[in-house]
Point group: C2
Chain length 231, copies 2
DNA sequence: ACAAAAGTGTTCTAACTACACCCATGA
DNA sequence: TCATGGGTGTAGTTAGAACACTTTTGT
């Protein structure tokens, strides 16, 4: 066996699938590339891992310098290894996904990009590299995860109403969910509690305002929401 | 931004958690290292990714040259990035797990190792690197996965009895499962069918022999087995 | 005939689904 | 007072848990 470091190593990129929820639909953040390869095409934000960085450090750096965002929930998704996934040479992509509330951040188009924009997940443009595939895996993961983890709350304001949360679940899962059953499941899970306040302004009954119960241990919570069977 | 390939890249290792089932308990395959670092200590089998290899290629190479095993089900687990996880320098580990039936293979102690051995998962020795951590994640994943995927069958012979499958599930999940309910759930899932044969020899009623239904699409199958609540 | 392990069925309970009416608000 | 959307309860069904007896075999 050859000694350590006599091997040539592939480059290691970290790519991010940034989900946001706004205007009552689920979006992903894409970046229009200024340079080759895939110049002027849309891709997921990403960057190369530096020797002294952990993956999460790289995520944070990308989010801050390319998008002006800091302090986020990130979770490792998968590592992609297709030999020809990058025309410049061998590049492994370790992908992460993250959830943000777009209202909290003003996007910055870093020096690397022509543009940075939110895209409705149902209307994505063509993506460079294998990013369409990465996005697809991320969406599957989000859909699975939202059923048994309080990740939905990362996408909303700190205070939110049950109808807002309900609509978020319907948007993410892409099937209708019974309002009343949803309410009962969520409340029974103990993950949210009422603030006692009500959201005023609308010309109809004012919905109660809830908050996520941070102190609760992330134990059993399984909404078990399912797409209604088709015949 | 610096041009592509002006970066120094970390080394990329692929580490394998190889689960086997024999002697009525769940085991992992460990390798005793011949060289530094962690000389004479036990670790997971692993190796460095070559430029022209996919992760699965590397897995196959490690399994073949270090263990004499080929042709396996492998699945990506997670990528580990602690900066000091390897004393030789920065090494990222992409880990995979795999399931084998130890009876099908004669282990080979490759030139790299002092020894290769199966260890009962309840009696692991100290492991080098962060391999104890990797193992722990793999076991969690296996426990989750066996509930909704027919992975259990990889660990058994092609033909098996229901009591054998039942015991495997109890060993992997580490809690008792009602025989009768287990039988019903497994049979209802449609993932196995009877061969019509019976396993003879024992001094008691001869159990029916089943096979995994390969042609079935991997759709809905959720055993939903749970550890009995403690008070 | 006995010991050992496999095969089988039912009752009880908890969880989920489906569904419709009343309430609060602003215009 | 009306239109809009939020809040609430129940009956019926289904899925899961708990549980014990009978059958087959080798000695």
């Amino acid at each position: 066996m050859k000694p350590f470091n006599s091997y040539k190593n592939p480059a290691l990129a970290v790519d991010l699938v940034v989900f946001g929820y706004q205007g009552e639909s689920l979006s992903v953040l894409l970046l229009n590339r200024k340079d080759e390869p895939f110049k002027d095409q849309w891709t997921l934000p990403g960057g190369f891992l530096q020797m002294e960085e952990t993956f999460k450090d790289t995520c944070a750096r990308i989010l801050l310098t390319k998008l002006g965002i800091n302090n986020l929930y990130t979770e490792q998704l998968f590592s992609f290894d297709d030999i020809n996934r990058d025309p410049r040479g061998r590049v492994i992509s370790v992908s992460y996904f993250t959830l943000i509330n777009p209202k909290r951040f003003a996007l910055v188009t870093g020096s690397m990009a022509n543009d940075v924009k939110w895209f409705n997940i149902a209307k994505l443009p063509a993506l460079g590299f294998d990013h369409r595939h990465i996005f697809k895996i991320a969406l599957e993961r989000l859909r699975a995860k939202i059923q048994y983890n309080p990740v939905g709350f990362e996408l909303l304001n700190e205070k939110f109403t049950l109808p807002e949360l309900h609509q978020l679940y319907e948007q993410v899962l892409d099937f209708p969910i019974d309002r009343r059953n949803f309410r009962r499941k969520i409340l029974d899970s103990g993950f949210i509690s009422s603030t006692g306040e009500k959201k005023t302004g609308a010309q109809n009954r004012h919905p109660d305002i809830y908050m996520f119960n941070k102190q609760l241990k992330s134990n059993q919570f399984h909404l078990n929401l399912q797409s209604p069977a088709k015949d």
